[in-house]
Symmetry: C2
């Protein structure tokens, strides 16, 4: 029943802004919607990268852990991987890479990029898990750890959301990274250059799932929040 | 395989703004995703109301037609109807109705309302079909027909989208109307009072489908458009 045209999203980045950080889906349930993805744990517990059905968590100490079926998440993107070759790059900057991808595919639908190869000057971050009552995203992001590597071989896993869906998702690219050695990764802040094979998977459907059983979410009054402004500051 | 937790959306209101009005889904395909819904035809060809699996079109002459399987649409919302009683209202204004509904259910997820009953001073509109090259939504809306009834018995079919999804959908209520006599209806502009049974169906999933095979859509540059501003003016 797997459909490789579907990007499944649990939660929205909008709900992270005011600190609605309860884990509202288990990893077991999430993995029923795909084998490739990104996310964060309850209370912003690290940065997740799911590759070939294995959920890796980069925690705030920089350790890479495989999380269990009962690990819960407030936000995740996942899909069944079925990438097509798009292009090869050699020593390209992040800006050049993003521009090249958008010159080769439409910016008006959701897609994922997988780039396995060599990277220089990679900077990632992972947030430290917070507990109830959770802080806002802006506040929690202040205590993030930043990790850097001069050169590293690994996988860049990215999702692109059309600007017209800004809010539901963050318009533009959202990149996570995991090294082949499983000793480095997280939410990508920046890299110097990338070299390797760029693969593309385009979706025709966003399956947006909301945590309707979470009373904190359902009762929250978003009307006073500058959701988009805060997302763009923190992401 | 019907899932009453899912709201299926084909296209987005954002693509209507610059006039991307090709019909990109057939009624036959649309009806595989539900039996209750709203939409518009290619070139903004009237206003659709789908009730119990029957697709009624209110055209710009005010006629109510049942459309065929090969009728195509650039935009539609549809779901499998499974409503629960919410409240009864008697001579309530539109503003009071919307406030009452939001006091009884969460504004943070998608839901549908069905209100069958008596209405006064109902004002609806239907747009005249335009042909390629299509005009923008603002321009097309200038040639809309407006219909009015002092008193009418019928069904108000509404979808509510959370404000945090403004863009993907129009945040707030989107109402269509069809009279029991099938002689009056369209996109609801306003009513004076409503009396009858209000039923609610809450969704946990928005299945957002995009017309990735439509080259006009995929190639369009949205960056110069004030999508949200134009939607709010026209809807």
């Amino acid at each position: 029943m797997s459909n490789t045209n579907i990007l499944y999203q649990h939660g929205t980045l909008a709900l992270l802004v005011p600190g609605l950080l309860d884990g509202t889906i288990t990893m077991k349930e999430l993995l029923s919607h795909g084998d490739t993805g990104i996310g964060t744990g309850e209370g912003l517990d690290g940065e997740l990268v799911i590759l070939d059905g294995t959920p890796y968590q980069v925690d705030s100490n920089g350790n890479v852990n495989i999380v269990k079926n009962d690990f819960t998440l407030p936000f995740a993107n996942i899909h069944f991987g079925s990438y097509q070759p798009l292009t090869n790059v050699d020593g390209i900057s992040q800006k050049e890479l993003e521009e090249k991808i958008l010159s080769l595919t439409s910016a008006n639908t959701f897609f994922s990029i997988e780039l396995h190869g060599q990277f220089t000057n990679v900077k990632t971050r992972a947030v430290k898990k917070s507990h109830k009552p959770y802080d806002t995203l802006a506040k929690t992001a202040e205590s993030q750890s930043i990790f850097e590597k001069d050169t590293v071989t690994g996988t860049l896993l990215s999702y692109y959301s059309p600007e017209i869906f800004d809010g539901a998702a963050v318009g533009g690219f959202h990149h996570h990274f995991l090294s082949d050695e499983h000793d480095f990764g997280g939410h990508l802040l920046s890299f110097g250059t990338a070299s390797g094979d760029v693969k593309l998977q385009q979706f025709d459907t966003l399956e947006q799932h909301l945590p309707v059983k979470n009373q904190s979410y359902m009762d929250f009054d978003f009307s006073g929040e500058d959701i988009l402004g805060d997302i763009h500051k923190s992401e």
